[in-house]
Every structure is written in C-alpha cells, then in structure tokens.
C-alpha cells in the first residue's frame, strides 16, 4: 500500500507527521488518526455537509470544506478548525450558546457541521456587516447546504437570526 506523509494545524496546534494510506479521506484522518470524532461522516458524497470543517486562509477569511470527499492531503500544511476547537477554554461561542438556548438540535449528528458553517458566517459578518434586510438570505445561503432530518431547521435558523440581529457589529 502506498502511503503519504501528512501534517497540518488543527485547532491551533500542529499535528503529524503521520504516515497514512494514499487517498485517505480527511474525515478518516480526523476521526481515526487524531481521535477527533466530533466531525461526523454522513452521506459520504458531499451532499449533507455534516462532515465539514473550517479552513482558515492566510488572508484572514475562512470557509467550510467537506471532509468526506476531500483527502487529508488537500489539507496538508493548512490550518483547520473542527467542532472541538470552536469553544475557547471551555467557554461556548455565541453560536453554540444560541443553538443550546433555542433547543436547535435533536440527535446532534448534523450539529458540528451547522456549528462550523454558522461560525464562518458570523465571522464573515463581523468583517463585513450585512444590511438587516439581507440577514435571512445570508443565513439561508450559508446553511442551506446542511441537511437535518430531525429538526426541520426551524430552530437552527431562528437561533442564528436572533443572534445576528442582536449584535450591532454584525449588521448595518
């Protein structure tokens, strides 16, 4: 079996180098090699977005990336945040608190993906606030790729709308 050497930054700390099978998915790398099982495997074909992690770019922007259809080598040398790295020193972020306060999730399987995508949305609004009238559309654009079977999405979306509209730094 051919192998490849992988190292990257995950949740602020360097990991690796690990010698892994060539073609190993990022999802398997996180879960099997790093023991970070907060990132879930859903459909495996990039449709449900339960598996996304945050990719932090050098210029200060971030995006979510599927880990089921992208190899660990795609992330090699890059900086990644998983759901385990969202809270700091045990303190939940506003997104996490909002989801809890609103009873936004039920089984929790899609939740890490929702948390990561919502975190990216909040951070992008902090950099460039949106008009209040566009908030609903911005939430839908950021989150519609995330499938949930339990909740019907209502409380996830309501939590984000309330969070964004309550923070004067995120809207104009």
């Amino acid at each position: 079996m051919k192998t490849m050497s992988i190292s990257m930054t995950v949740n602020g700390a360097g990991v690796g180098p690990h010698e892994v099978p060539e073609g190993l998915s990022m999802n398997d790398y996180l879960r099997e090699y790093l023991g970070l099982t907060g990132t879930k495997f859903g459909c495996g074909i990039g449709m449900c977005s339960a598996c996304v992690v945050i990719l932090d770019n050098a210029e200060g922007t971030s995006s979510t990336v599927h880990t089921c259809i992208n190899g660990a080598d795609f992330f090699a040398g890059k900086s990644v945040r998983t759901v385990e790295g969202i809270a700091r020193d045990g303190r939940l972020t506003p997104v996490q608190s909002a989801f809890l306060d609103h009873f936004a999730f039920q089984c929790g399987y899609c939740t890490p993906g929702f948390v990561n995508a919502a975190q990216v949305l909040i951070e992008s609004l902090a950099r460039e606030p949106a008009p209040k009238a566009e908030v609903d559309a911005r939430i839908l654009a950021a989150m519609d790729g995330h499938i949930c079977r339990c909740t019907g999405y209502v409380r996830y979306y309501a939590a984000l709308r309330e969070l964004i509209l309550a923070d004067p730094n995120l809207t104009r």
């Binding site: 459909c43 039920q106 089984c107 339990c150 409380r155 979306y157």
Partner: protein
C-alpha cells in the same frame, strides 16, 4: 420513519375526506367536525379511547388562523400579481395512537444527602429529549428537576427479579390471574423506546418512583423538621396532609410551614434512614397496572407493579438489615390489578390530535411547488418541555413535506436495497424547501393542571402531507393519488 401505517392510511383518508367535502359543496372544517369521533365514543373495535378527544378544538383553532380565513382573498390578490402561479391552501386533521398496548417501563429515582437527584431509565435518547422530559417530570414530586439522568440502562433492574410470559399479547385472563399470585410476575418486563411512549409511559413510571421518595422520604423529613421541639413545635398548630404539600421555588411547604429546600430535606431523610431511592416497574396495556405495597412506614398504592427502596445513610441497624436484595429492600405487592386481558384486542387506547394548514404556490410552467406558509396545531395534554414538543412538530413538518413532494424509493429491483441509493437520489427536504421562517406551531393548553403528557412525536408528521395535497388540489383543481407529487407530475397534469 414516523407513524408508519397511520401515515399512509390517514394521508389517503384525509385526501378523500377533503374531496368528499368538495364534491358535496361543504366547508372542509365543518364537514370534518360533523363526522368527528367525540369524547366517550367507541373505536371500530368497540372500546372507548382514553380521556377527552380534542380534534374539534384543533379544527377550530386551525380554522381561526389568518392563513385559512384569508385564503380566498389571498388567492385573488396573488392571481392578479402573478398569473403564472397558482396559489392554494389545504387543511388536514388527524388523530393517531401513541403506545403499543404492551408498554412496560422501569425507573429508579435517587437523592443524595446533598440533595442531588438522579433518574435512571431504560429509555433510549436519540435526540427526542426524553432525558430532559424525565428530569423535568420528577420536579412535580421533588421540587426541582433531576441533576443527572441515565438513559438506556439495561443493568441493575434484576433487583426487582421480574418474570414474564413469552408473549404479552396472547395471555389469557386465567394465565394473568395465576401469574399475578407470584409477586415477581408481570405481563411484560421491558420495552423498546418506540411508539411515542417516552413522555406518556417512561416519565410516568419515573413520576411514581419520585412519588415514593416524596411520600416516604422527603415528606416525613419535612414533618420531622417542622415538628421539632416541644409539643410538636411549629407544626402542631396545623393538621398536616401530604395532599397539601406544594413546592414553591423548589422549596417544600404545606399549611403555612416555612419552605424547606431539597438539600435540607435530603440530608434529614438520609440522617433519619428514610426512603432515599425507589426502583419501580410499571405496566400499561391501554391502562395502568396498579398495586399496593406495605412499607415499614405505611402502605403505598400506585400505578406500578414492582417496588424496591433504599434507606438513607443514617438508617438504623434494623432498617439496614431489610435491604437484602442487591442493596435494596424489595417488597412483595400485597395486591395487584393488571389491565384486563381483553384490552389486548384494542387497536388503540390512547390518541392525540393534530392538524395542519399549508399554503402552496405552484409554478404553472414548471410544476414546482413552493410551500409559502404553514401552521400546525396539536394537543399533547401537558407539554413537559414545550420547546421539545414544538421541535418534534417542526421536524415532523419537514418529514411530511418530504413524503408529499420529494421522497421516493422504488420497490424491488432498482430500489434502495441495491446499495446505490444515497442523498443524491433520495431527496429529503432542505431548509429552502420549507417555510422555515414562518412555520407556526400552536400547542393547545392542557385541560387542567394534572393533564398527563401524551405522545405526539409521530402524530405531528401525519397531517402535513394531506394538507399539502389538499392545497395542491385547491390551487390547480387536480388531486393526486400517488406520492411524491413531483414538479414533473404537476406539469404533466396541467398540460
């Protein structure tokens, strides 16, 4: 996934009822109200359903919503504004069963000397929130919600030493009477987490266990504190009844006695060697088994068929010596009444009702259906955790919408059994397919303060699909008898 059997039949039934009303020129709500099974009415197999039937109230509430009352005016307004679209509003109302007809459950409630409450259950948490419901339910008896809830616990119940026949659905009356003579015999020992029974069955049994701890632990501890001192202390002036006990802000009070917090009561109960833990088993066959047990401090009669208790850390040597079964004092029931075996023939003993009104807009060119607005009304007796009840209705709405418009699995060859199906082929609703910002979930208030929680998690997905189908019929005058009703099918029907 939800209400299988009922989902299919009630979808068909509500579409047919709607069509009949239309053909007869009758108002859809009035037509349904004229044909309702009313409280005390008998089902097809001849039994009366438990409690009050509230479908009429659900219908009245649905009919009062602006989405319904304003539908004609809205259709006119939209027809002028967007003639290439067809607007329609549809209504459906159903009642369906919760429970299986043989529902046993265990519960263990314990309090520590510091007043921490722990509830242990066999119920499995998959995200429905039964953990929270269990924690909240025991507050009725203990003043505050549980601190710890342990779910899916299979071990430890052997303390009760229960035995049961192989098939709980075919026991004869004679077999049940014979079995009842054995204090360890129950019609059924354990049950899956299923049939929307978590709130109604599992929390009820936890409530019984908490009630034992209140009656034989916290209450006598409170009496001891209040009557301390000469001549019965400050409690002497009033006649004290357990029935008058109330919790105010988590503090136990009765008849004007100073409210006592749980840590103080728990410490006293442990010190006095009173009951600080109760393990119970309950059985429901469309009615609760009930039994009496003689504890050292009095008789307990409740909706349980097995009981074991633990006494506090300060229990006397004599009392400690009673705890001979796995650390518990296990009782033989002195009498028991199991639900009649003829209840095995009942299809349904418990029901709850829900209805939906859905507004759709159909693109006449593409056949695409947009769900613009929706309301779901339901009654669930007492909602232990209202956010979780509404969350079930919200998730159920999505499932009903998927069932009506998107989800398709062909039978036999080429179907999902061949391993090639995934979310790219099986289309489940996304947020953009649903009225996520506008879905109104309206839960009727309970009839009274002692309403029990009723099962609703499956119910709430069922009226959604027929409401959508009836809305499509209202919009374009076509009725469909096969699901899903895709854009292609609508487009074909319009040409």
């Amino acid at each position: 996934m939800r209400g299988f059997g009922a989902l299919q039949t009630l979808t068909a039934l509500e579409v047919m009822i709607d069509e009949a009303a239309s053909v007869l020129g009758r108002d859809p709500v009035a037509f349904r109200k004229a044909n309702l099974l009313k409280t005390g009415g008998k089902t097809m197999v001849g039994n009366v359903v438990a409690g009050a039937l509230r479908s009429g109230e659900v219908l009245d509430r649905l009919a009062s919503k602006p989405i319904w009352t304003g539908r004609a005016a809205e259709r006119t307004r939209r027809a002028a504004a967007a003639p290439n679209k067809a607007y329609g509003v549809g209504l459906a109302c159903v009642s369906t069963v919760f429970g299986t007809g043989s529902d046993p459950a265990f519960a263990l409630v314990e309090i520590t000397p510091a007043g921490r409450i722990s509830v242990t259950s066999q119920a499995v948490e998959i995200g429905t929130g039964v953990s929270t419901a269990l924690a909240v339910r025991v507050a009725d008896r203990l003043g505050v919600a549980a601190d710890t809830v342990k779910l899916g616990v299979l071990d430890g119940w052997e303390v009760l030493g229960l035995v049961a026949p192989p098939n709980p659905f075919t026991i004869t009356a004679e077999q049940q009477e014979e079995g009842a003579r054995n204090p360890r015999w129950v019609p059924d020992v354990a049950q899956d987490t299923t049939a929307s029974i978590s709130a109604h069955i599992h929390t009820a049994v936890a409530d019984e266990a908490a009630n034992v701890v209140l009656r034989f632990g916290l209450w006598p501890a409170a009496l001891a504190i209040w009557s301390a001192g000469r001549f019965g202390g400050r409690a002497a002036g009033e006649f004290m009844r357990l029935g008058d006990a109330r919790f105010a802000d988590g503090h136990l009070t009765a008849a004007g006695m100073e409210p006592l917090p749980l840590p103080r009561l728990a410490a006293k109960a442990h010190e006095m060697g009173l009951v600080v833990a109760a393990m119970v088993h309950g059985y429901n066959r469309w009615a609760w088994a009930h039994a009496s047990f003689d504890l050292p401090d009095g008789r307990y009669t409740g909706a349980i068929d097995a009981l074991a208790v633990k006494y506090g850390d300060g229990a006397s040597a004599a009392r400690t010596a009673l705890m001979t079964t796995g650390g518990y004092h296990r009782f033989d029931r002195i009498s028991v009444t199991f639900p009649p075996t003829l209840f095995e023939r009942i299809g349904v003993g418990y029901t709850s009702a829900s209805g939906s009104v859905v507004a759709v807009e159909i693109d006449k060119t593409t056949g695409a259906v947009a769900i613009l607005d929706a309301v779901t009304v339901l009654e669930c007796g007492r909602a232990l955790v209202p956010e979780q009840v509404r969350g079930q209705a919200e998730g159920g709405f999505a499932m009903g919408a998927g069932y009506a418009l998107h989800e398709y699995l062909p039978l036999y060859e080429g179907g999902p059994g061949d391993g090639t199906w995934n979310l790219d082929r099986y289309r489940v609703p996304r947020a953009s397919d649903l009225p996520v910002w506008r879905l109104d979930v309206d839960v009727l208030p309970p009839l009274g303060p002692t309403d029990v929680p009723k099962g609703i998690a499956e119910l709430v997905s069922i009226p959604v699909a027929p409401a959508i189908l009836n809305a499509i019929a209202d919009a374009i005058g076509k009725r469909f008898d096969a699901l899903p009703v895709t854009a292609d099918k609508i487009k074909a029907a319009l040409t």
